[in-house]
Protein backbone atom coordinates (compact mmCIF):
# COMPACT_ATOMS: atom_id res chain seq x y z
CA UNK A 1 0.00 0.00 0.00
CA UNK A 2 1.31 3.43 -0.87
CA UNK A 3 2.14 5.99 1.76
CA UNK A 4 -0.30 8.47 0.23
CA UNK A 5 -3.28 6.11 0.61
CA UNK A 6 -2.38 5.58 4.28
CA UNK A 7 -2.07 9.31 4.85
CA UNK A 8 -5.35 9.92 3.09
CA UNK A 9 -7.31 7.50 5.31
CA UNK A 10 -5.68 7.65 8.74
CA UNK A 11 -7.33 8.81 10.91
CA UNK A 12 -10.40 7.18 9.39
CA UNK A 13 -13.55 9.24 9.01
CA UNK A 14 -16.58 7.79 10.77
CA UNK A 15 -18.25 6.68 7.53
CA UNK A 16 -15.02 5.02 6.32
CA UNK A 17 -14.52 3.30 9.68
CA UNK A 18 -17.98 1.75 9.81
CA UNK A 19 -17.91 0.77 6.14
CA UNK A 20 -14.57 -1.02 6.53
CA UNK A 21 -15.69 -2.58 9.79
CA UNK A 22 -18.89 -4.05 8.37
CA UNK A 23 -17.24 -5.07 5.10
CA UNK A 24 -15.17 -7.65 6.92
CA UNK A 25 -18.17 -9.63 5.73
CA UNK A 26 -19.61 -9.20 2.25
CA UNK A 27 -22.40 -6.62 2.28
CA UNK A 28 -24.10 -3.81 0.35
CA UNK A 29 -24.37 -0.07 1.00
CA UNK A 30 -27.87 0.22 2.37
CA UNK A 31 -27.37 -2.69 4.76
CA UNK A 32 -24.12 -1.17 6.09
CA UNK A 33 -26.03 2.05 6.80
CA UNK A 34 -28.73 0.21 8.74
CA UNK A 35 -26.21 -1.83 10.76
CA UNK A 36 -24.26 1.32 11.56
CA UNK A 37 -27.39 3.11 12.68
CA UNK A 38 -28.31 0.17 14.95
CA UNK A 39 -24.84 -0.32 16.40
CA UNK A 40 -24.39 3.38 17.17
CA UNK A 41 -28.00 3.84 18.32
CA UNK A 42 -28.73 6.52 15.69
CA UNK A 43 -25.52 8.43 16.43
CA UNK A 44 -23.93 7.78 13.05
CA UNK A 45 -26.08 8.08 9.96
CA UNK A 46 -24.70 7.11 6.58
CA UNK A 47 -27.20 8.53 4.10
CA UNK A 48 -27.09 7.81 0.37
CA UNK A 49 -24.71 10.55 -0.81
CA UNK A 50 -22.19 10.03 1.95
CA UNK A 51 -22.43 6.24 1.58
CA UNK A 52 -21.99 6.05 -2.18
CA UNK A 53 -19.23 8.68 -2.23
CA UNK A 54 -17.28 6.73 0.39
CA UNK A 55 -17.83 3.34 -1.30
CA UNK A 56 -16.75 4.65 -4.72
CA UNK A 57 -13.66 6.33 -3.31
CA UNK A 58 -12.57 3.36 -1.21
CA UNK A 59 -13.10 1.00 -4.12
CA UNK A 60 -10.95 3.23 -6.32
CA UNK A 61 -8.22 3.29 -3.68
CA UNK A 62 -8.34 -0.50 -3.28
CA UNK A 63 -9.58 -0.66 0.32
CA UNK A 64 -12.67 -2.57 -0.69
CA UNK A 65 -13.65 -4.48 -3.81
CA UNK A 66 -16.89 -5.58 -5.41
CA UNK A 67 -17.92 -9.21 -5.38
CA UNK A 68 -20.76 -8.89 -7.88
CA UNK A 69 -24.39 -7.91 -7.88
CA UNK A 70 -27.36 -9.33 -6.06
CA UNK A 71 -30.26 -7.98 -8.07
CA UNK A 72 -29.47 -4.32 -8.53
CA UNK A 73 -27.46 -4.24 -5.34
CA UNK A 74 -23.71 -4.04 -5.61
CA UNK A 75 -21.91 -6.21 -3.06
CA UNK A 76 -18.58 -5.25 -1.51
CA UNK A 77 -15.93 -6.83 0.71
CA UNK A 78 -12.80 -5.49 2.39
CA UNK A 79 -9.38 -6.06 0.72
CA UNK A 80 -6.04 -6.81 2.43
CA UNK A 81 -5.12 -3.13 2.14
CA UNK A 82 -8.42 -2.22 3.77
CA UNK A 83 -7.83 -4.72 6.60
CA UNK A 84 -4.40 -3.23 7.20
CA UNK A 85 -5.87 0.25 7.53
CA UNK A 86 -8.68 -0.95 9.79
CA UNK A 87 -6.23 -2.76 12.12
CA UNK A 88 -3.91 0.23 12.24
CA UNK A 89 -6.84 2.46 13.07
CA UNK A 90 -8.20 0.13 15.76
CA UNK A 91 -4.81 0.21 17.50
CA UNK A 92 -4.72 4.00 17.25
CA UNK A 93 -8.21 4.36 18.72
CA UNK A 94 -7.36 1.93 21.52
CA UNK A 95 -4.27 3.98 22.37
CA UNK A 96 -6.32 7.18 22.38
CA UNK A 97 -8.94 5.56 24.58
CA UNK A 98 -6.37 4.29 27.12
CA UNK A 99 -4.42 7.53 27.12
CA UNK A 100 -7.60 9.54 27.59
CA UNK A 101 -8.04 7.75 30.92
CA UNK A 102 -4.44 8.42 31.86
CA UNK A 103 -3.34 4.83 31.20
CA UNK A 104 -0.06 4.21 29.39
CA UNK A 105 0.06 2.08 26.27
CA UNK A 106 0.97 -1.51 27.11
Amino acid sequence: MTRSVLDKYIPLSEPAFYILYFLQQEDHGYSIAQKTRDLTRNEVLLPAGTMYGALAKMEKDGLIRTTGNVGKRKMYIITDAGKQILEKEKKRIERLYKNSKGEPVC
Binding site: S13, L45, A48, G49, G53
Partner: protein, 182 residues
Protein backbone atom coordinates in the same frame (compact mmCIF):
# COMPACT_ATOMS: atom_id res chain seq x y z
CA UNK B 1 -44.94 23.45 -18.36
CA UNK B 2 -41.55 24.07 -19.92
CA UNK B 3 -39.28 26.51 -18.15
CA UNK B 4 -35.82 27.81 -18.99
CA UNK B 5 -33.46 28.82 -16.27
CA UNK B 6 -29.72 29.28 -16.15
CA UNK B 7 -27.63 27.82 -13.35
CA UNK B 8 -23.87 27.36 -13.45
CA UNK B 9 -22.00 24.24 -12.32
CA UNK B 10 -21.48 25.78 -8.91
CA UNK B 11 -25.09 26.85 -8.35
CA UNK B 12 -26.64 23.48 -7.64
CA UNK B 13 -27.67 24.58 -4.14
CA UNK B 14 -29.61 27.50 -5.64
CA UNK B 15 -31.09 25.13 -8.20
CA UNK B 16 -32.30 22.78 -5.43
CA UNK B 17 -33.95 25.71 -3.64
CA UNK B 18 -35.61 26.90 -6.81
CA UNK B 19 -37.02 23.41 -7.52
CA UNK B 20 -38.30 23.22 -3.95
CA UNK B 21 -40.02 26.59 -4.27
CA UNK B 22 -41.61 25.43 -7.54
CA UNK B 23 -42.92 22.28 -5.80
CA UNK B 24 -44.43 24.43 -3.07
CA UNK B 25 -46.45 26.13 -5.82
CA UNK B 26 -47.51 22.74 -7.20
CA UNK B 27 -45.01 22.55 -10.05
CA UNK B 28 -43.34 19.16 -9.75
CA UNK B 29 -40.27 18.58 -11.89
CA UNK B 30 -40.59 15.60 -14.22
CA UNK B 31 -37.29 15.93 -16.06
CA UNK B 32 -34.37 18.17 -16.95
CA UNK B 33 -32.76 16.17 -19.74
CA UNK B 34 -31.35 19.21 -21.52
CA UNK B 35 -29.23 21.93 -19.97
CA UNK B 36 -31.30 24.79 -18.52
CA UNK B 37 -34.59 23.21 -19.66
CA UNK B 38 -37.04 22.07 -16.99
CA UNK B 39 -40.25 20.19 -17.57
CA UNK B 40 -42.82 20.58 -14.80
CA UNK B 41 -46.15 18.97 -14.12
CA UNK B 42 -48.96 20.64 -12.22
CA UNK B 43 -49.94 18.77 -9.08
CA UNK B 44 -50.96 19.57 -5.53
CA UNK B 45 -48.50 21.96 -3.81
CA UNK B 46 -46.00 19.79 -1.91
CA UNK B 47 -42.98 20.04 0.36
CA UNK B 48 -40.30 18.32 -1.66
CA UNK B 49 -36.63 17.88 -1.01
CA UNK B 50 -34.46 18.10 -4.13
CA UNK B 51 -30.83 17.10 -3.93
CA UNK B 52 -28.02 16.80 -6.46
CA UNK B 53 -25.15 14.37 -6.46
CA UNK B 54 -22.46 14.28 -9.08
CA UNK B 55 -20.68 11.41 -10.84
CA UNK B 56 -19.35 11.91 -14.35
CA UNK B 57 -18.80 8.20 -15.01
CA UNK B 58 -21.97 6.39 -16.21
CA UNK B 59 -21.22 3.21 -14.19
CA UNK B 60 -20.87 5.27 -11.02
CA UNK B 61 -24.01 7.17 -11.93
CA UNK B 62 -26.10 3.99 -12.29
CA UNK B 63 -24.80 2.51 -9.04
CA UNK B 64 -25.35 5.77 -7.25
CA UNK B 65 -28.96 5.99 -8.49
CA UNK B 66 -29.69 2.43 -7.31
CA UNK B 67 -28.36 3.20 -3.87
CA UNK B 68 -30.36 6.43 -3.55
CA UNK B 69 -33.48 4.50 -4.58
CA UNK B 70 -32.91 2.05 -1.74
CA UNK B 71 -32.97 5.01 0.61
CA UNK B 72 -36.33 6.01 -0.83
CA UNK B 73 -35.20 8.76 -3.21
CA UNK B 74 -36.68 9.13 -6.66
CA UNK B 75 -34.28 9.88 -9.50
CA UNK B 76 -35.25 12.59 -11.97
CA UNK B 77 -33.56 12.49 -15.39
CA UNK B 78 -30.92 15.20 -15.43
CA UNK B 79 -27.85 16.27 -17.44
CA UNK B 80 -24.14 16.80 -17.29
CA UNK B 81 -23.20 14.13 -14.75
CA UNK B 82 -25.50 15.74 -12.21
CA UNK B 83 -27.80 13.21 -10.58
CA UNK B 84 -31.01 14.71 -9.31
CA UNK B 85 -33.09 13.11 -6.58
CA UNK B 86 -36.28 14.08 -4.84
CA UNK B 87 -38.30 12.99 -1.85
CA UNK B 88 -41.50 14.37 -0.38
CA UNK B 89 -40.87 15.61 3.17
CA UNK B 90 -42.49 17.00 6.22
CA UNK B 91 -40.70 20.00 7.67
CA UNK B 92 -39.52 18.35 10.89
CA UNK B 93 -37.60 15.44 9.38
CA UNK B 94 -35.74 17.61 6.88
CA UNK B 95 -32.31 17.31 8.48
CA UNK B 96 -32.64 13.58 9.01
CA UNK B 97 -33.19 13.18 5.27
CA UNK B 98 -30.13 15.01 3.98
CA UNK B 99 -28.15 12.73 1.65
CA UNK B 100 -24.82 14.01 2.98
CA UNK B 101 -24.11 13.64 6.70
CA UNK B 102 -20.51 14.84 6.83
CA UNK B 103 -18.65 17.96 5.73
CA UNK B 104 -16.09 15.71 4.05
CA UNK B 105 -18.65 14.02 1.80
CA UNK B 106 -20.15 17.40 0.81
CA UNK B 107 -16.68 18.70 -0.02
CA UNK B 108 -15.88 15.61 -2.04
CA UNK B 109 -18.97 16.08 -4.17
CA UNK B 110 -17.92 19.67 -4.99
CA UNK B 111 -14.41 18.37 -5.72
CA UNK B 112 -15.77 15.85 -8.23
CA UNK B 113 -17.47 18.70 -10.11
CA UNK B 114 -14.25 20.71 -10.10
CA UNK B 115 -12.15 17.84 -11.46
CA UNK B 116 -14.59 16.46 -14.01
CA UNK B 117 -16.06 19.74 -15.31
CA UNK B 118 -14.47 22.96 -14.14
CA UNK B 119 -10.84 22.01 -14.78
CA UNK B 120 -11.49 20.71 -18.34
CA UNK B 121 -13.57 23.83 -19.09
CA UNK B 122 -10.68 25.96 -17.93
CA UNK B 123 -8.38 24.16 -20.38
CA UNK B 124 -10.87 24.83 -23.16
CA UNK B 125 -10.86 28.51 -22.23
CA UNK B 126 -7.08 28.47 -22.40
CA UNK B 127 -7.23 26.97 -25.89
CA UNK B 128 -9.72 29.63 -26.95
CA UNK B 129 -7.31 32.26 -25.72
CA UNK B 130 -4.48 30.75 -27.78
CA UNK B 131 -6.76 30.59 -30.80
CA UNK B 132 -7.62 34.27 -30.37
CA UNK B 133 -3.94 35.12 -30.11
CA UNK B 134 -3.18 33.11 -33.23
CA UNK B 135 -6.05 34.79 -35.11
CA UNK B 136 -4.74 38.20 -34.00
CA UNK B 137 -1.33 37.42 -35.50
CA UNK B 138 -2.92 36.17 -38.70
CA UNK B 139 -5.02 39.33 -38.86
CA UNK B 140 -1.93 41.48 -38.33
CA UNK B 141 -0.28 39.61 -41.18
CA UNK B 142 -3.32 40.31 -43.32
CA UNK B 143 -4.21 36.62 -43.65
CA UNK B 144 -7.71 36.79 -42.10
CA UNK B 145 -10.59 39.27 -41.98
CA UNK B 146 -11.41 41.33 -38.90
CA UNK B 147 -14.63 39.27 -38.51
CA UNK B 148 -12.70 36.13 -37.58
CA UNK B 149 -10.73 37.97 -34.95
CA UNK B 150 -13.86 39.54 -33.46
CA UNK B 151 -15.74 36.21 -33.32
CA UNK B 152 -12.79 34.50 -31.73
CA UNK B 153 -12.18 37.28 -29.19
CA UNK B 154 -15.85 37.63 -28.25
CA UNK B 155 -16.36 33.89 -27.71
CA UNK B 156 -13.19 33.70 -25.63
CA UNK B 157 -14.38 36.63 -23.51
CA UNK B 158 -17.86 35.20 -22.94
CA UNK B 159 -16.63 31.72 -22.06
CA UNK B 160 -13.80 33.17 -19.99
CA UNK B 161 -16.16 35.30 -17.90
CA UNK B 162 -18.50 32.33 -17.36
CA UNK B 163 -15.70 30.00 -16.30
CA UNK B 164 -14.19 32.63 -14.03
CA UNK B 165 -17.53 33.27 -12.34
CA UNK B 166 -17.95 29.50 -11.93
CA UNK B 167 -14.63 29.34 -10.08
CA UNK B 168 -15.62 32.25 -7.83
CA UNK B 169 -19.00 30.66 -7.06
CA UNK B 170 -17.30 27.33 -6.42
CA UNK B 171 -14.89 29.00 -4.01
CA UNK B 172 -17.81 30.48 -2.06
CA UNK B 173 -19.69 27.18 -2.18
CA UNK B 174 -16.72 25.32 -0.71
CA UNK B 175 -16.22 27.99 1.96
CA UNK B 176 -19.90 27.64 2.80
CA UNK B 177 -19.61 23.87 3.11
CA UNK B 178 -16.67 24.20 5.48
CA UNK B 179 -18.56 26.66 7.67
CA UNK B 180 -21.71 24.55 7.93
CA UNK B 181 -22.02 22.20 10.85
CA UNK B 182 -22.53 18.65 9.74
Amino acid sequence: MLKFRFFTLAQYKQEEQWLESMAKKGWILSSSKYPFVYLFQKEQPKDMLYRFDFFSHPTNADECIHLYEEYGWKNIPSVNGFLLFCKPVSVNDRKELEPFSTTQSREEMAERIVHARLVPLTWVTGLMFLLTLYTAFRFAAGAVELDSLVISAVSFTVVGILVLSCWIQMYHLQKGIQNTES
